[in-house]
Subunit: 416 residues, 4 copies
């Protein structure tokens, strides 16, 4: 399926060597101001050739808006977008055609489809992500204007070089890392060539990438992403829990190997008494949690805290080092990839992670909108048992008619 | 959404205290022999009260088949299934109703829906998984009969007690762990009370769980699952890559916090030269990989190797220990959960992980079936460039008409 | 697929001779008061044995609510529903098993699935509609409470006996028929044994049905349905135009052969100058149309007028008359159906038509809610060209923020 | 939703005055030979300006294939397609902007979205159908190559001029009309300027259209479509019966008002004894029906006979005649449309009907493929009761393993 989303739907097309790559975005709310520039920014952050530690291919990816807007405003109709493929170099790949590249999609694409694009992996190319990034940029713009949502991703590890996730064995996550999650801005991320906004770590990462490049090798890594100011109540249990759909979205990005929400796998080593996030009353009267090991999601539904997660990326499969491996015909041989390839894709994957986060949140907002707007049209509920409602008179009526839970919580419950 | 799957579709209903929980399974192939016993086995492995380290609640969950079979054979029509709720004890929960339980779904369900079930979390209850397990048992039976697919999950860690994932820093995963993945059987898993089939580790896990129970605390952990003999070519790029849909499925299980395919996050710390899985010719002439750090998936498509992954589960949120936390009305208080709760859900989650794996593979099989059967009806392809086809005469014709890639690979390519 | 809908989703199961038939309804807004009685009413209107011109089988279909409500209020979680199968008489069918019944589903079910239920048509049984009717009853209750929506279906023709659709050749539809559409109530429909609320026609229909029954034959007919007070703006172009989804819904009812919206096929014989519905200002200031040949839908979107359509039902295939037809093995023979069968299903299909209408409108309301609520959160639009906006200052801002078009239309446009 | 289909999926974008209109086609089987010419043929049959009885606008619509093929062969990946918009004349529409056109989409689009494209109806434009036609042309090519499927649509009525559907009151449909359905070829349809392949009727239709054009009026009509050589077993009960999805598809075409399968509404006036289609043994041993009033579909599933249906189109709403109607602001006025408009769209809609038919059949083929291929992998069934299986020993085993029902029926059943 080259489609993602239920109400905010993205459909993509395009291989690396065809005429263009692009997408259709369906379900964009009408009345959003939108121009090609809004989309170009993220596309440019994604493209190769931005620094000498990524691939040297220079693909300038200009987006062309085909439909769905007039006078810079969305019509509510599908938005067609495309980016022409310019740097088509099929000959780069020709010499090694007898081999399926190890850990690459050559073999599985051929097995699945019976034919394959000259580029080998076909839609497994990172170029496929252009359509997603464009679609995500529109979602991000909406979310920012409607809710002030902020989505920031940053490189958390490259090979064995990692941010200080925790300083002590007995802390779930360390203060420095938690602070980054709470406060880091996209501009700070982009200041570093590695997109790791922690200077000391970034320097080591850069060294590691250059060393890998020098020995014709590649490095994996991980990216942490935070979504701030997300509305409360997003996620559609049971199968479309927020973390499940975020996981789906992130693991659909090429080369991803892991997804962790909140404290993640590390968090599973702590007991409930440490890991639970107690509630407290926030300044605005709403319930907040004092810690956020849940990563902003409880029971598959956003709780109003920062939503954060980390995604692992394997080292790129295509390396110039010689590898002993079989040809398609089963005979043994030695393969050394030609062409220019990323020694480490993680820095370039940052906007792709952000875009997938935006797609998920956008779709969940629309789904929850549909429910809340429907519930708000019903007559007030009364005479319900206290096990079913908030403490305080008639509070359910308020909740059900769309008032914020926070306001309701400010009420006295003494009279019960 | 309480639905999962595109062609093999499961729809579930039911909270913990309503009349019944159940599901409709649509898309079951006709002509499969199926009885209630086929389903009951996995349901019984899932239910509480199986040992004294899980919850003491005794829920005997008998499945009742409503439709979709006659004379023990599936008709191809939807299968309705239900399990009556017997142990309804709403009063167990009543005293603590003024509090949203920390890290539980009480607060988010109320925020999302405006009303809540008396049990608090509503569909966040583990009882919701009964329908899934029933549906997965049918899928598993089909996959076993049609392909000999074997799905085995086992507990890999509990709190800080874990299997030896690697013995040395410079190995991606250790031999002992890899061997478990390759060979462990479900019976061996069930021999251990912890469902960790590594005696030494299991003993330590049991101790850790008993200790946590003694101090009214809870423990998280992780489960590794392997799918053996899966057909080659499963997964629907770009958005429905096999690992993306597996991740979605697993992260929809209550309490999950992480998903890793193959070497996972640990694998991202190794360079491509180490992490790549070289190809070799297998005994049957088909291409195989010498290592399997990819976890059986490349480019989002299964490559015929074992598919394995690990899922992290947080410690259960409901603990009898006192917790300082706010009430719904914002006031501070102290909450100590009443009732009987699992100190550690990981052993009971083993069949749930297996069932979700079966649901994903089943759906992917049907999707790939549709494509292959369609391609097989087309006239042979000829005169295609070698960059597009397998080396060897007319091999594309064979591949495209559904013959195995392996057979094709045995051919000579010298004459070109 | 045994599922219908995008946000308000119904999943059904059950053949005529299995344990139960039922459904899961997902997407029900939380906070709706709902009991089994709300659902039973329509189920009872659907069941056989209501009069001596329908089948004599007495199936009392009591609905059992399984989940999704507490204290008579919907939780927003899936609602499980079932009706036990009581009158299981497989032997009624046994003698004729060598024959696929002409124009029945026996042959096509066997061809499609390779196995068949003992009842022959499996899910083609009218009993399958029980789940739909239950789901539709919930939708109808919501639509009535939220918008005052009224859905009324009635029998428009039986065999060659029909309502006076037009009195003159040159009128699109006649006044008497149009008035019925505008005003008829469900109670008036139920007063007639035929469910045709036009006394003279009903009497003739009854005679026709009794005559058909007497000669062991069957009759088809048609049903007109009207949806009043539907919100403006429903329908999701381009593929999910309101009439397209209504057509899909109606043509999924067993035995249906035709669907017409508004003036239907007859309307296509008139020129645009006669068939167009001119606009006028209504009493409330909103635009209304002076005629309604469009049937309440323009460009696939509801325009606020009554939505009405007519569905044709073929004569029931199962008749007691002898029919010359081949057996499964190809040999010629003579088949005379045993058992009790409806000579005319049209009267009993009335609530099924209403239920499918409710399912469609409900789903469309939720989809449009999602869009409108999203648009309402955006900042106001200004400085748009007059070709894009309503005449009158800043009117777009108002429209886009959810105010009714009608209010906006009251403004002066002189200054432009 | 601008998407159609479950496994063969089409997503479209584009209004009449934006940069391009186009689509993404996902789910195309790999290994199909495909070039732009294959698609252009149907696009050219669809475009305006083909004769002086359609609109005078000359839009030459050249399709540009963007992705999904290499060396003229489909890769199994999504196919991106676009057609540039050339004849953009927004000023043609400017003078009448104060009015919502009667029976047009202007008013409902504005009500739904709050903003509207300068062309008024936005996606309600017939230009939106370009993407569908392109996608359908690919489906048609596959169906022809794989099964020899033939899809032919033709104009059946224009205004009050119609084909002789029946010569006698007591015949369901007349021989001449039935013969056309059985035998007419696309070339014969295109020989007539009206696309009605019945010379005498076509001449009258042409006169009627010229007369309507002369008085600045418009005419509706209807199109009959037949699908020959469709595989047996297509259609997905209960909600996705073949006629339901065909109805959905057809009623999503702009201006459609009715859909009838087989004998349609006329057929509902006949008793079951006349309307039933008896079975007989065909020359190839398979069961066939002696009549085909069912239109090739029984129980929602294709039975191997010709699938035929008729769709009604309303007269175009945009006419140059003066119409008394209200402006957006509610004031009364007189509107006379400017620009060049089709007096009758029915001839141009012929390829659009064919394309929607191809999309439906293609998707249903893939869904049934998935089921049959899955069932074929199961072990043989034995010892089933005769009520469940075909007469004759072990025949179910054969059916379930994918052999044609016809072959099975040829077997002896002597023991009966």
């Amino acid at each position: 399926m080259s489609s993602f989303g239920r109400l905010y739907r993205v459909h993509t097309y395009g291989e690396s060597h065809c005429k263009s790559v692009g997408c259709i975005v369906d379900g964009v709310p009408p009345g959003l101001r939108l121009t090609e520039e809004d989309i170009q920014t993220q596309l440019s952050r994604r493209r190769p050739g931005q620094s000498d530690i990524t691939t040297a291919r220079s693909e300038f990816d200009s987006v062309h808006l085909q439909s769905g807007t007039e006078h810079g405003v969305t019509l509510g109709t599908p938005i067609g977008l495309l980016v022409h493929n310019k740097d088509q170099r099929p000959h780069d790949y020709a010499e090694t055609d007898l081999y399926p590249r190890p850990s690459h999609a050559d073999y599985t694409y051929l097995a699945k489809y019976g034919v394959k694009a000259s580029s080998g992996g076909g839609r497994a190319s990172a170029r496929e992500t252009i359509g997603r990034v464009a679609a995500g940029a529109i979602a991000e713009k909406y979310l920012k204007e409607a809710f002030g949502v902020e989505i920031v991703a940053f490189v958390a590890s490259v090979g064995k070089v990692a941010l200080p996730f925790a300083e002590e064995d007995d802390e779930v996550l360390g203060k420095e890392y938690v602070d980054l999650i709470k406060t880091v801005k996209r501009e700070e991320v982009d200041k570093e060539i590695t997109r790791c906004p922690h200077k000391a770590t970034s320097t080591k990462m850069e060294e590691a990438i250059r060393a890998a490049k020098a020995r014709d090798d590649s490095l994996g890594g991980s990216i942490t992403c935070v979504i701030r100011n997300s509305p409360l109540g997003l996620g559609e249990p049971c199968f479309d829990k927020l973390e499940a759909v975020l996981g789906h979205a992130m693991l659909s990005i090429p080369s991803t190997k892991s997804f962790e929400i909140g404290s993640g796998l590390r968090g599973t080593t702590f007991p409930g008494s440490v890991h639970n996030d107690p509630f407290t009353q926030g300044e605005d009267g709403k319930l907040r949690t004092t810690t956020n090991w849940s990563g902003g999601v409880q029971g598959g539904i956003s709780n109003g805290e920062d939503i954060y997660f980390r995604i692992g990326f394997k080292p790129p499969a295509t390396i110039a080092q010689e590898q002993d491996t079989a040809r398609y015909d089963g005979s043994s041989g030695t393969l050394a990839a030609k062409g220019r390839h990323d020694p480490c894709v993680v820095p370039r994957a940052v906007p792709i992670v952000e875009t997938m986060a935006a797609l998920v949140i956008m779709d969940m907002v629309l789904q929850q909108n549909a429910r809340q707007a429907a519930a708000a049209l019903l007559p007030p509920l009364t005479h319900l048992p206290p096990t079913m409602v908030l403490p305080g008179k008639a509070t359910v009526d308020k909740v059900i008619h769309g008032e914020s839970v926070g306001e309701v919580q400010g009420q006295k419950t003494g009279e019960e």
